[in-house]
């Protein structure tokens, strides 16, 4: 079992009436009305410090991600964060999980280079996330025609892997990218290349693609394990259809988690931050979710016939902390509650080998975030870490150096 801390780097102090006054948290939130540059500087440093603290407390990985024009997550280039984290965590057995450079909007050889740099700085601890990107980021903000998003991803992926693994200089004459002389410096430390994870939001087509390529699929959902059941089953069916083993490390899942001394205390401490997250940070009009062509035809028909997700989005504003907790959008409570529910609902329930936990949620202040990280690391993580071990699955999607270090530690 691998457990990583995920961070969105949100605006932590949006006004109380944000969702009433503004159309969206993403694409159109006005910077000068909503952001205080000095506070934002503080957010970045808190966020980095929180991830570094998690690394020091023994998490297996720390995750960054990429969004644009977004008040709930503004790491437009996650590799700037990732390189700082790589440097600051040298000497710790923690993976730098970049979740990551959005391939359709970044020059592919630049991604290959930046990832190789992080792998170099961290001494071979990179996990290379390759998101297809959201419609907001890729179509509405970066202007990529929605119909080109998936084929662009595929071409960029193939080019990056080839740039990492081919010794000779080569020419790339692609549909979207042409390079005359590909010969990137540096190459990654990890050979033949760093593990590749593909984050997604439950699209049928992405499961098939990831299963075909043999990478890790990470379901980045904010709706928790219960809502994810159907998606996880779909992914595992896609894996089985290809005759691949049901190695739990093929699947990653993001879960919001709040740990306190008792269940009641968790509600008291974290309740309003969870509500802030779902009411303000997910304040996004539905039509921005999928520009025409962002989903392929098959996925489009499938999602139009399953209005459950749309209904769930529309219901968010009516829900309170207790609803979010009961419906597993967030798993909150005492260490015992949290670890039992994580095992039951997430790890075993969805067959998750790579768990990512969001421990800084919405408006959660720095000190409380550190407490959440601290309690999770001390009281929850050690109980989950060995899950899957007795089944003998091998994690092919983790930096080898870290697996070796772990082997050395457990045999000593």
């Amino acid at each position: 079992m691998k457990i990583s801390m995920f961070h969105l780097m949100p605006h932590r102090e949006l006004p109380d009436d944000f969702e009433k006054r503004y159309e969206s948290v993403w694409v159109t939130p006005p910077w000068w009305e909503l952001a205080d540059p000095e506070r934002v500087s503080q957010y970045y440093n808190w966020s980095l410090d929180e991830l570094i603290y998690a690394a020091k407390m023994g998490f297996d990985g720390i995750c960054t991600n990429e969004h644009h024009q977004n008040a709930y997550g503004f790491m437009p280039n996650p590799n700037l964060m990732g390189s700082a984290l790589a440097k600051m965590t040298n000497g710790l057995d923690v993976a730098i999980v970049q979740m990551g450079s959005t391939l359709p909007t970044s020059p592919p050889i630049r991604v290959a280079e930046e990832y190789a740099m992080i792998d170099q700085i961290s001494g071979g601890r990179l996990i290379a996330g390759m998101p297809l990107g959201t419609s907001m980021d890729v179509n509405f903000i970066y202007g990529v025609p929605p119909m080109d998003q998936r084929p662009r991803w595929r071409e960029a992926h193939d080019l990056i892997v080839k740039a990492w693994t081919t010794n000779e200089i080569f020419a790339w004459n692609g549909r979207y990218y042409q390079y005359g002389m590909v010969n990137i410096w540096p190459r990654p430390v990890q050979q033949p290349h760093p593990p590749i994870w593909v984050p997604g939001a439950g699209s049928v087509s992405t499961w098939d693609l990831v299963a075909e390529l043999g990478h890790v699929y990470c379901f980045l959902s904010y709706f928790g394990a219960k809502a994810a059941k159907r998606f996880a089953e779909g992914f595992w069916e896609a894996v089985a259809r290809r005759g691949l083993d049901l190695n739990p490390y093929r699947f990653g899942f993001l879960q919001l988690v709040c740990v306190s001394e008792t269940d009641a205390r968790a509600e008291e401490e974290y309740g309003r931050h969870v509500e802030y997250f779902y009411h303000k940070d997910l304040h996004i009009p539905l039509h921005l979710f999928a520009a025409p062509g962002h989903q392929d035809y098959r996925s489009l028909v499938s999602s139009l016939k399953n209005p459950a997700i749309v209904e769930a989005w529309l219901a968010l504003k009516e829900m309170r902390f207790r609803d979010f907790n009961e419906q597993s959008f967030v798993i909150a409570g005492s260490p015992a509650t949290v670890r039992d529910r994580l095992v039951e609902e997430v790890i075993r329930g969805l067959r998750v080998g790579n768990l990512m936990v969001l421990l800084q949620i919405g408006s959660m202040p720095h000190e409380l975030t550190l407490k959440n990280i601290d309690l999770f690391a001390r009281e929850v993580l050690p109980h989950l870490r060995h899950y899957w071990e007795d089944e003998g699955w091998e994690n092919h999607w983790w930096p080898k150096k870290l697996l070796k270090a772990e082997g050395a530690a457990s045999s000593s």
Binding site: A291, D296, V301, K305
Partner: protein, 266 residues
């Protein structure tokens, strides 16, 4: 009612089959649909009284063949595909009418092959851009605001006919998917994120007599663009239609149909 036939034409090295709705009698006429896809409407019905109307379904917009459009890279490929199509239909020289996205396509064809387009009718075309009057991407409209952007009278009969959805849940989902996919196969592929793909550099080449039709209350593509097209196409004439939005040929059929027929007959 004229008899509408569904004709299939092989194009693009026989890789893409284009369905062409064909109806009427008389000299040939080509109609290129907008981003919502092709629907046989009263305007086409009216044209078919005196013309043989060829109305192709853009690649991707034909039910059952959504991925045909993926074989094309960009607007250039699409323009060549339509040139193939005119060849295969045996239309050496023909009048072309284009609406919205189809208007951009018609203008491109007329600029690239000035000798093939005998007359050009552009109904609320996209294809040009002014920084002082930006065109809001149709995909950024919340669904409830779309009728107001498209129609002079969002509650009117024409709006209701165009926006009608099946009652049955499954059928409604299919219809909605077809509509979204038509947008994907047009602007989501060839005119994203800004409908300026270089027509301004080529538009001077248009030699066909040109009629530009615009609804005075077009809130999607503001009528100031009528002047923009007219200014750049030698001898072009503008028909500004009162009490009409982005689909003047339907909202003011009684006025637009005779205007277009007169122009074509002259």
């Amino acid at each position: 009612m004229v008899q509408v036939q569904d004709r299939t034409v092989s194009t693009w090295s026989d890789e893409i089959t284009v369905h062409v709705k064909t109806a009427g009698s008389g000299p040939p006429l080509v109609f290129l649909h907008g981003a919502g896809g092709l629907r046989w409407d009263p305007f086409l019905e009216g044209l078919a009284q005196s013309y043989t109307v060829y109305a192709p379904e853009g690649p991707g917009t034909t039910p059952g063949d959504p991925d045909a459009v993926r074989k094309l890279d960009d607007l250039w490929d699409l323009v060549f595909l339509y040139s193939d199509l005119l060849d295969r239909l045996g239309l050496e020289r023909v009048p072309i009418i284009g609406h919205s996205f189809g208007g951009m396509l018609a203008a491109e064809l007329a600029a690239c092959y000035p000798e093939r387009v005998s007359k050009l009718v552009l109904i609320a075309p996209i294809g040009l851009w002014r920084d002082d009057v930006p065109i809001r991407n149709i995909a950024t409209y919340p669904p409830e605001e779309l009728p107001k952007a498209l129609f002079y009278d969002p509650e009117g009969e024409v709006a209701r006919m165009v926006l009608a959805m099946p009652q049955d849940g499954e059928e409604a989902a299919e219809a909605q998917a077809r509509f979204i996919w038509a947008m994907a196969s047009t602007i989501g592929k060839f005119a994203w994120p800004i409908p300026d793909k270089g027509l301004k550099k080529r538009i001077y080449r248009i030699r066909a007599p040109t009629l530009i039709v615009w609804g005075k209350d077009d809130r999607l593509v503001p009528p100031v663009y009528a002047e923009e097209f007219a200014r750049r196409i030698p001898g072009a004439r503008v028909a500004m239609i009162e009490r009409a939005g982005h689909l003047p040929q339907l909202e003011q059929l009684e006025q637009v149909l005779p205007t277009v027929r007169q122009f074509l007959a002259a």
